[in-house]
């Protein structure tokens, strides 16, 4: 049994690591859902992502088929492209969130300032 991408046909070390990691990540998402720190739609999103990773790890041939369908040369390339798209999406979401948070912070700072004016008595 060889290790690495070449072993996609068999059950390689990489696949086992992939599955273990995805299961771990999925359990984290479920735990965070349970303590209400993420919403249902976020749980669904992460379940789809990590479920997808598990599927691909068990049946790597999915990617070969998908690559042929999309006209991309190799399965690994499709994997990288998909990963990049997901990462960009997450980055964008994070960006929007940070901007919103900045605005909230400004609102708070301004409110505190307006409520506490300082004026010295002039001699």
């Amino acid at each position: 049994m060889s290790i690495g991408i070449e072993a996609l046909g068999e059950f390689g070390m990489l696949q086992i690591i992939g599955i273990l990691f995805a299961v771990f990540a999925l359990s984290r998402a479920v735990l965070r859902y349970k303590d209400h720190s993420i919403k249902t739609n976020e749980l669904v999103f992460w379940t789809v992502i990590w479920g997808g990773v598990i599927c691909v790890a068990i049946f790597p041939s999915i990617f070969v088929t998908l690559s042929k369908f999309l006209g991309i040369g190799r399965g690994v390339d499709t994997l990288i492209y998909t990963g990049m798209i997901i990462l960009f999406y997450l980055l964008f979401r994070m960006y929007v969130k940070v901007e919103a948070q900045q605005r909230e912070m400004t609102k708070l700072v301004r409110e505190i300032a307006i409520q506490n004016p300082v004026q010295k008595k002039q001699k």
Partner: protein, 235 residues
């Protein structure tokens, strides 16, 4: 005598809003100069300065509002304007903290509003030749004015001039979102959108070594442009 009283009364409804970030050296002089010109309602918004800006401003007799952390000039001016409106200001004048603007020129900006001619006056350093503007700054500011025209359809001779006077009713109409330097363009955008009657007035900007060192570099314009595009796209 009566005229003087009337003038004083008018000045009481005029509020000067100054945003200051690390301006302890100059802010006192600027406030005293405003007071000498009979403006008594002066709000300084200390935008999270690391020096004694708040203390200097309060010592000079201004009302000080303090941003706990730095949020940018736009946010600071907005805080000051809100406070002034809450305290029954009729006209709000925005003024720079570094001594670039001249308190004697405030009536130039306020009288067209008092006369009911317009609702906002925007200072322009290019309507006469009294400002000592360097060539690269001129290119950037003129380019900025051109971009404002392209973005918002308003023709100005100057961009990013912090010397303005706006009527209370107009201030209440404006919706500000930008926290950082692009707020200057945003004010112009909002003036256009809300159909505020405005006019450009020649003002003198005196660049001193201090104000140049404290102020924005001409290169900062690219950052402002980027933020303008961003807010246009993400809106």
């Amino acid at each position: 005598m009566q005229q003087k009283e009337k003038k004083e009364q008018q000045n009481d409804s005029i509020w000067i809003v100054i945003a200051g970030y690390n301006e302890e050296k100059r802010i006192g002089t600027v406030i005293l100069d405003l007071k000498k010109n009979n403006y008594h309602n002066i709000v300084v918004v200390d935008d999270g300065s690391k020096d004694r800006t708040s203390e200097s401003a309060a010592d000079a007799g201004a009302i000080v509002l303090r941003h706990v952390i730095n949020r940018g000039q736009g946010a600071a001016l907005k805080t000051g304007m809100d406070f002034a409106v809450k305290n029954n200001a009729e006209i709000i004048v925005t003024f720079d903290a570094d001594g670039q603007h001249h308190a004697e020129e405030i009536p130039r900006l306020t009288s067209p509003i008092i006369n009911g001619e317009v609702d906002a006056c925007l200072g322009s350093r290019f309507l006469d030749t009294s400002s000592n503007v360097s060539w690269h700054r001129k290119v950037v500011l003129k380019g900025g004015a051109w971009i404002i025209w392209l973005f918002y359809g308003i023709r100005l001779t100057d961009s990013h001039n912090g010397f303005r006077a706006i009527k209370k009713e107009a201030v209440q109409k404006l919706e500000f979102k930008a926290d950082r330097m692009e707020h200057a363009s945003e004010i112009v955008e909002q003036i256009g959108k809300q159909n505020v009657r405005y006019k450009e007035i020649p003002v003198t900007i005196t660049y001193t070594d201090y104000s140049v060192q404290k102020g924005q570099s001409s290169l900062a314009a690219f950052g402002i442009l980027w933020n303008m595009i961003k807010s246009k796209v993400l809106k």
